[in-house]
């Protein structure tokens, strides 16, 4: 980033709410399913139907708003956003316009050790549209397109930030924090790859110190953290190049081409829609009892920041480890559950940060999809602590647990992996190894400390890794004086 410009970023994030049924009818919200099977006259917008608000949607929107430190409106309403598109069965989307359910919130991010508060302008409820399935490779080259309305009427919240971010890293940190909060509160399953969390970014540049905003562009549908960061970085460079050459930024909507690594124009301001918002006459205004809001507030779980603080203060984890573990509720819950069974937080954190995350990433799995249960990991760590198995064995056992979901005891038994800690049994092996490796014995005696490592390794080999390495070390040193 050139010193003479300051970048201004605001994000609009759509999160699908994790309700069982749709926002205005009782169809299931379940992802997948055969096309057009999760539909009814109401979500298909057939002539004559009327929407009825799902109370759970309201509850989740309030819950998210409270977790984002928002004011909850005691009076709000639904409006219609009118536009034509084949996937929008009523040709309007029921959304909230001038009176959203939540406003004036904030969240805290941390980038390069610096904390920063990002304002949240509003959180509002709306319905999702359907999905077009093109007959060919792209929309332009398809002879026909089919519509799947399963997603139509799935409840969304749109979270609009203040233009408070000043770099792609901040935008990413905001998005990560937002994702964690939505996951902690349980209102969304925040799966970006399934589209249940989507992001549009508004980006503009202005001369350092200027108060006025520059002309902005909007990048639509960023569906991974990587895409978010890369697209913003690209767009900042693109805008800066234009400005430095004395050009003008055109206000437009752009999309991120992941393959080429560039943003491309979708439509300009001139083609922008006039949505003709007006209050939906089919829905009565939403009036909320403050008592109910309080009940929801009381039911909020410990949120990521508080949890991270606790992990550092009470469990002695590093800021970094605590940050990673609390970055996802599923991971943090996993950690808590292991610690509840095996109260060595640092060891548990090391295992989770090391083996567990490594295998999850390698297999592209979510925490929830893991076959290893917290109780089983705790059992494995106990076995290691009690000396039943060595640390190296533990890793082998864990890999198998991860693959098969078997209990550690079972694997240890099946493989005969019990550690040999019997001095008598090991002494014979040690004798044998000393006799077979005179050179190493000599080296050690001549002061080469390293040689003992080789001898330990040989004993381990003879015992198929089952010997207690500490004991072997001691026995060897005793023998060799």
């Amino acid at each position: 980033m050139s010193a003479q410009y300051e970048v201004v970023i605001g994000l609009e994030v759509h999160a699908e709410l994790k309700t069982d049924t749709k926002i205005f009818c009782s169809c299931p919200t379940e992802f997948g399913g055969e096309e057009n099977t999760h539909v009814c006259p109401v979500c298909l917008g057939l002539p004559g139907v009327l929407p009825v608000l799902n109370k759970k949607v309201l509850e989740y929107a309030v819950r998210a708003g409270l977790a984002l430190n928002c004011e909850i409106a005691s009076f709000s309403k639904f409006d219609r956003k009118n536009y034509f598109y084949p996937d929008l069965p009523k040709a309007y989307q029921i959304s909230q316009y001038d009176l959203p359910i939540c406003k004036k919130g904030y969240l805290e991010i941390e980038v390069n050790g610096r904390k920063k508060t990002i304002g949240i302008t509003r959180v509002h409820m709306e319905e999702d549209a359907g999905k077009l399935v093109h007959g060919g490779a792209t929309i332009a080259t398809s002879r026909y397109s089919l519509v799947d309305y399963n997603r139509t009427g799935v409840p969304l919240i749109e979270i609009v930030s203040e233009p408070d971010m000043r770099s792609a890293e901040e935008a990413r940190a905001y998005m990560e924090k937002l994702k964690a909060i939505l996951e902690y509160t349980g209102v969304s399953d925040v799966r970006m790859e399934q589209g249940s969390l989507r992001c549009d970014a508004n980006i503009s540049l202005r001369p350092m110190g200027a108060k006025e905003f520059g002309t902005k562009t909007e990048i639509k549908n960023l569906n991974s953290f990587r895409a978010l960061q890369k697209a913003i970085e690209y767009e900042i460079e693109r805008q800066r190049d234009i400005l430095e050459e004395g050009g003008k930024i055109i206000q437009e909507t752009r999309s991120w081409d992941e393959g080429k690594g560039v943003t491309v124009s979708l439509r300009s301001k001139e083609e922008a829609h006039d949505y003709r918002y007006f209050p939906d006459p089919d829905l009565v205004p939403v009036v909320i009892d403050p008592q109910w809001v309080q009940e929801i507030r009381d039911s909020l779980p410990e949120l990521p920041d508080a949890k991270r603080e606790r992990l550092v203060q009470e469990m002695g984890l590093s800021e970094y480890d605590a940050g990673i573990i609390t970055g996802s509720r599923a991971l943090a819950d996993f950690f808590d559950q292991v610690v509840a069974e095996y109260n060595e937080p640092k060891t548990v954190a090391n295992w989770i940060m090391g083996e567990f995350l490594r295998l999850l990433n390698a297999n592209n799995l979510e925490v929830a999809e893991s076959k290893v249960k917290p109780r089983s990991l705790a059992a494995l760590l106990k076995a290691q602590a009690e000396g039943t198995i060595s640390g190296k064995m533990a890793k082998t056992v864990f890999e198998e647990m991860f693959e098969t979901g078997k209990e550690p005891e079972t694997i240890i038994k099946e493989k005969g992996m019990v550690q040999i800690s019997d001095e008598g049994a090991l002494a014979a092996v040690v004798e044998k190894v000393i006799a077979a490796n005179p050179q190493s014995v000599e080296d050690y005696k001549a002061g080469k400390e390293k040689a003992i490592g080789f001898l330990v390794g040989q004993v381990m080999k003879e015992t198929k890794g089952q010997a207690n390495p500490g004991l072997v070390n001691k026995l060897l040193k005793d023998k060799l004086g």
Binding site: G48, F84, P89, K90, D282, L283
Partner: protein
Amino acid sequence: MDLYKKTAHELSSLLQKREVSSEELTRSVLDRINKVEEKVKAFVTVTGEQALEQAREIDEKRARGEAMSPLAGIPMAMKDNICTKGVTTTCASKILYNFVPPYNATVTEKLLEAGTILLGKCNMDEFAMGSSNENSGFFPTRNPHDLSAVPGGSSGGAAAAVAADEAVFTLGSDTGGSIRQPAAFCGVVGLKPTYGYVPRYGLIAYASSLDQIGPLTKDITDCALVLNVIAGHDPKDSTSAPVEVPDFTRYLVDDVKGLKIGIPKEYMGEGIDPRIAAYLKQAAAKLEELGAVCEEVSLPHTEYALPAYYIIASAEASSNLARYDGVRYGLRVEAEDVISMFCKTRSQGFGEEVKRRIMLGTYALSSGYYDAYYLKALKVRTLIKRDFDQAFLKYDCLLTPTSPTTAFKFGEKVNDPLAMYLSDVCTIPINLAGVPGLSLPFGTVEGLPVGIQFIGKPFGEGTLLRVGYALEQNTDLTKPKAQMEGVI
């Protein structure tokens, strides 16, 4: 015995006494349809076979001694904007010419549960937009009292069907007078209930905040019986009022003593046919004779109702009708790309009046004009509602003409939309305020029926039925039927 001529309550007692069967009755009405429909053209769809089958089922149930609602076995019809599962529902629009709903409207469900027999679907102005039935996308319905006159609109088919004895009763919908004005033109009873009293689920929307389903019947007693079936809270309709519904037949008492009735002066001035005004005075005199007190009252914002209505109704319509795009059902005109397909489908599928209102509504809601038109109209609506609130502090109900004129001739106003809009000037404010309005036949002018309108407090339907019943019991002016002989 011409069964088709009788009222529902007369037929109900014949059915209960097993003097006639529902099948006989249904056949009688279907025969009547066969005989006069060519002239009247009240129906878009007649479901004769299904109706007879339904009637036989009801007869069997009755034979088994099952408990029956008072309307069980009575043949009825519905305006073609009320959804009927498996029966084409077109809104008299080319764009929905082949639409068969996979579900029933709540009122359809309620009427079928009550055992009524569905004869078919009645013609209307396309998407309920119009005051003469000349805007039907298919063909116009004629006034059974004079075939060269319009039946009114938009529930013209539903009103004509009752007037011509082609159905014992029908359901219409009323957005700005669409039940009451055709009821007046055709000489039948028409009620627009309080907004939210009758579920709208399954009523194909024209203007959601104004639309209300209501009955068209041969007399007040039938009106009460039908209202008993269709009114009540519906969990599928957020705007449905969560209130208890009384048995409306208990308001059928020949007594108006002590009732205070206001006559708004704004509804009696310029533009009102003096012969209609004279009938209105006659009705007031009769009510006073029966012990009511009638006084002049003022509703000062009345003159703004018409423009406010056309802004609000058109704005909502522009949005409600946007779903007819050729993608999922109804008409599709093939084209090279999706946008052209939308455009061609809508250009060819919608009629003139519908397009006019979509354009008007789109304009009124567009950015830059919203405040000047839509928002202003909402403010006017509040003022009009306040006028009624004020009047009802003092009066139990109000009395006005239903329409400024009797039924006009075909073609008379069709090229002058503003003149056409004026025919709803007495009914529109009632929809804006959300209060109930009842049109009762009261005399004729040159052989054409005159309607008078009673306006009630919210959920004050009982009072309207009471005054209507009292008039029915005490004057023959409420029965303009005899005039019709020889026309059809």
